[in-house]
């Protein structure tokens, strides 16, 4: 179904938060649609400003507005246009507080108490940390969060390298890696191994036990979780059910939704991957909140 044209003229930029140091752009839903059942939160990716890498967050916000869902894309303290908070707090705590303040603002602006946070890269860290602490966060989409390779990942990674780079280069790189790993292990016996995350973004990298514990707390609280992964880490995340294999020992494999978007790059620069990512987000969030047509959103009045 083609979407109606949306006018970005109705977007508003504002300060919010207890210190009014946080800056956000509010994208209201297109007029004439049913009352929105939820709102979307979008934030920084790394230190990209709130418009997101390649203006990704703007596109997501406007797509949701077209189907009647408002959104707030905001800069965390110290990033983009937001000033630092005056009170010194650990970074992760500060950013969780900022996210909760964003939900306060959504509630103030729209009276909506159900939010979904779409977190890309470091934004996924923030969603993952905030979800167990605030019951208003009813759904989170985590794109390329921490990666926990399995034995199958290692084998498939080798096959990927063979296909992408051929035998000669693969053997050369493999030999170089073995030598380097051996050297590193000699110097640092606690180097990265299977079952440990290789991602180095955000406020800290949890062990798989810690990660599963947090995901358990999130789903126990009734929050829906969609894991999406890009094709940018073919040696660390490379088959569709890897996260399921990660979480099965903890009894969480049925509690989450997941997808591997092989054609998507980590910052969603490519056309095919970006389109697929947005479609998956809208389909899942529409379903979570009872929109019969998934991605098409709420019914027109």
């Amino acid at each position: 179904m083609p979407l109606d044209p949306y006018s970005s003229r109705s977007e508003r930029t504002l300060f919010f938060g207890p210190e009014k140091n946080l800056v956000a752009t509010l994208t209201p839903p297109q007029a004439g649609l049913a009352a929105p059942p939820f709102a979307v939160l979008l934030t920084n990716v790394g230190i990209n400003p709130r418009c997101g890498p390649y203006r990704l967050n703007v596109e997501i916000a406007r797509r949701y507005a077209q189907v009647g869902i408002p959104s707030l894309r905001f800069d965390l303290s110290g990033l983009g246009d937001s000033a630092r908070a005056t009170e010194a707090q650990p970074l992760a705590q500060q950013w969780v507080n900022d996210t909760r303040a964003a939900m306060d603002e959504i509630e103030r602006q729209f009276g909506i108490r159900q939010c979904v946070m779409i977190g890309v890269c470091s934004g996924a860290d923030i969603a993952y940390l905030t979800a167990p602490l605030d019951p208003r966060l009813r759904g989170i989409v985590l794109f390329d969060p921490y990666l926990y390779p399995t034995r199958r990942t290692v084998v498939l990674g080798l096959l990927y390298r063979l296909r992408a780079q051929g035998w000669g280069r693969t053997l050369y790189l493999l030999a170089r890696r073995i030598v380097r790993t051996a050297r590193r292990r000699l110097q640092n016996p606690s180097g990265v191994a299977a079952g440990e995350s290789t991602m180095r973004y955000g406020p800290g990298v949890p062990s798989l036990d810690e990660f599963a514990g947090q995901i358990g707390a999130i789903v126990d609280g009734g929050t829906r979780v969609l894991f999406l992964y890009s094709g940018s880490y073919p040696y660390y995340y490379n088959y569709d059910r890897q996260i399921v294999d990660n979480l099965r020992p903890y009894g969480l494999d049925e509690a989450i939704e997941h997808g591997l978007l092989r054609e998507a790059d980590h910052v969603l620069m490519g056309t095919a991957g970006r389109r697929h990512f947005i479609t998956r987000c809208m389909e899942a969030t529409g379903r979570w909140f009872g929109a019969a047509d998934g991605g098409a959103g709420p019914t027109r009045i």
């Binding site: 970005s8 230190i47 990704l56 296909r163 054609e263 980590h266 490519g270 991957g273």
Partner: protein, 280 residues
Amino acid sequence: MSPELVRFGDPDRALVGTLWMPDSAMARIGFLLCRPFGCEAIRASMFYRTLATRLTLEGCAVLCFDYHGTGESPGDGKDQTLAGWQSDIASADAFLRQRSGVGRSHWFGLGLGATLICRAAIDTLATPHRPAHLVLWEPVENGREYGAGMCSKHRSEMERWFRARWPVIRRNFGEPEPSLPGVVLGFEIGAELARDLDALAGLPVAALLGAGIRISAGREQGAAPWPESTRLRSVSLPHAVDWMTSHAPDGEEYTGAAIVPNEAILAARETLLAPGPVLL
């Protein structure tokens, strides 16, 4: 010191920006910061914020804004033209002068932003509001080369993200070949903007200098020389920043948005010391 969030311009072509006012009641001078295009604008965002802060501390009123259809401003990227963005610069300058009370302002541009301020300044020559000083940092001087560079960078970025050669990526993931018009480096370039870029060759530096506008520039080493003038101060940049990539030269990912070239900040600050019309 915190900025004011501002929205200005024609309602059909609204612009969003941040206005930084100095603590002193009277702004010493107005400084308009014009962003580059696409991923360069995003990666330079921290640089622009730092520059705005530094210039405000020097007593300037600073306006940093997003062109229509870019960043946080309304509008779609695919509908834009160079002429449209030049008119945005004129709107932003009028807004800055009106809010700060300064008579003439200084303009800073990086990449395509530098190109745009040159062209927008030409449009002001017959008016009393022409800028006093332009800072052109790594300006785009050949649109065709710039477009080809973006396409090439698009391929290499994808190759790095997927650890595979471009033909393999195209075959396996259906990723289209980058071209103008089309989606390049994550941004859609419409037919009109593609035509504008294709026709872009050279900057009207001589005309601007001849009209009494001062120019400070940072250009890549080996760039074709500009006309000599006492109003021109140009530095050669042996290590120009690659604003289009998210990867360091060794292939490792890095957060390129953190780059803040100190030479550019110094060049902008030096314009406050220049003699003549800039202190009017």
